[in-house]
Amino acid sequence: MTRVGGSIERVFGHAELEVVDYGGRVGVRFKVTHGARFIELCMRGRRACDVPYIASRICGACSIAHCLAAVRALENALDVRVDEDVEALRDAVNAVQVAQNHVVHLAFLAMPDYGGVKGLKPSETVRRALRINSACLKALNILAGRIVNPTTLAIGGLSRRVSRDALLKAADTLLSAAGDAETLLASVAEAPLPRVREPPSYGVCLKPVGEYLTRGYEVVASSGALGRLEFGVRLYRNYIREFEVPYSNSKHVLVNGSPAFTGPRARLSAYGGRILERLGRAAELVEGADLSNPFTNIVAEAAEALYVLRYVPEVLKEVDLPPPKAADVAAEGGRAAGVAGVEAPRGILIHAYVLKGGRVEHADIVTPTEVNARHIEACGELLATDALGGGDGLEELERLEEALVRSYDPCLPCAVHVIRLRGV
């Protein structure tokens, strides 16, 4: 029995990967060692208006996605209506953070697997990504106030108005980085990505209300082998099942009993056709990518980043924002339940709350990295089986396995938001 693996580098948070060859059969364990955080328990008993502040702090990278998911789920529970243009702006803010997360992941975490890092001088890829990152952060400052733990996303809409000039400034800032994003996509598409088969599994994402990466109220889970599922987000528990594993602080998820993946590759596989026009010359690079290979998740990331930088400015130029209006969220009322899904950078994110008397009685959060956990293991097993059969050395296998994990851009702090305690 041979065993490889260890601490995984270049991922957000702490995890270990263990590949064990039982002499014929291979087992892979994705052991998330990041400490459990009990977020869902911290939210119990708190007033509804406090919950988004806790949710933002689940993760520094996708703070906006968590805050937005919490806000929308609570609006759903409290039956609060939000202006269409405000929702369009909130979607735009989320999309910009998605793009920003993607370029940082590509340049600093994923691409070093394929380009080789020589010396201390930053490569062109890194410089490019930093420019795009700056542009996104500048735009987010204008649109969302503070970027980490945003100050303007509130139940009912936005807490402050963004002026016409500010919207145009944000739009121009994003557009200025589009050229860099196109070059980045070209270099990612050319990267010598390994191949791995995937088991029969569902690609899970929200059905966008708009073109792409917008809000959605239905979940789509599609698979070549298993068919297609479509269900309202409110019914997520009937299809998306979380369960604990003894070796990991992150829960695992099965969708209708099968492994599932979520994120850019899932979104692009389902709705990529809608964005090709905006990718311009780069569209053929995306069309040429074989999205059935899990490693191409990073190509999908680059494509999404380019799309956002071209599409969001159009949205910003057209929105007409009403004056800010915070909903009157009193700590009273009977029992109410609300669910919302948001496309976070790494995939579908679901927040669900049961309120009683205006306070949280029960909270449930499903993060994209949880959804991907079992898929990582299953693909890792296939990768190992193929490699060991083909006679690759164990060192090479270790390198490939880690590159596989990185291509999902796992966010471990999000993944460990709770463990079920007995009796709780």
Binding site: R47, I54, T151, T152, S159
Partner: protein, 223 residues
Amino acid sequence: MVRVIIDGKPVEVSEGDPLIEAVRRAGGCVPTLCLFGNMYREASCRLCLVELRNGRLVPACAYPASDGLEVRTETPKVFRVRRAVLEFVLATHRMKCWECPRKGGHCLLLDLSRRYWVDGIPVCSSCPLHGEDCLVVKGVPCLGPLTLAGCGRPCPADGSPCLGCRGPTLRRDVIEGAAEFYVRNGVSIDDVIDAATLFWSGLGEGLGFIEGVLKEAARRWRA
């Protein structure tokens, strides 16, 4: 004319001119609170103390320049003394920043507190929301009146209530004033304490103390 040396830089002033004139000519600055042109030059606040070569501290607004005098305007001793002076001033200062016309960026005491590491002044002192725009006036349990200033108040500036990031002030008079402010504007003290428990704890941050003072003051104010 005499020659004095301010922080190593030689400047010329008329003999007998206060040192603060020499500091200005050298391009430096010394904080003052009680100096008011020619109308008030009594050296009462002691904030402008500067250090002479022999280690003696003298008030720059009044001490006369003489030839060859060497002066240092920022030394560790000066820093400690100025901080102590500021703490004394603030100890008797009625910190009701939420009603003060100097809030939102015009408060000298806040600027000095930042510079000399003195705590105690609440977020309201730098908050731009005045009158009707103030979140507490709108009935929101914003923690601004209770939280230490210094974060740059991004939350109230964006219309979101202060969450207490820098911790609570432990000055009884400020907390009591805050209780009055909340009650007067119809904000429930229970809601304020609810908001306070989000990021403040009973261990080391005095949440129990604040809770006690708030409730007691609110009761008195309501009665």
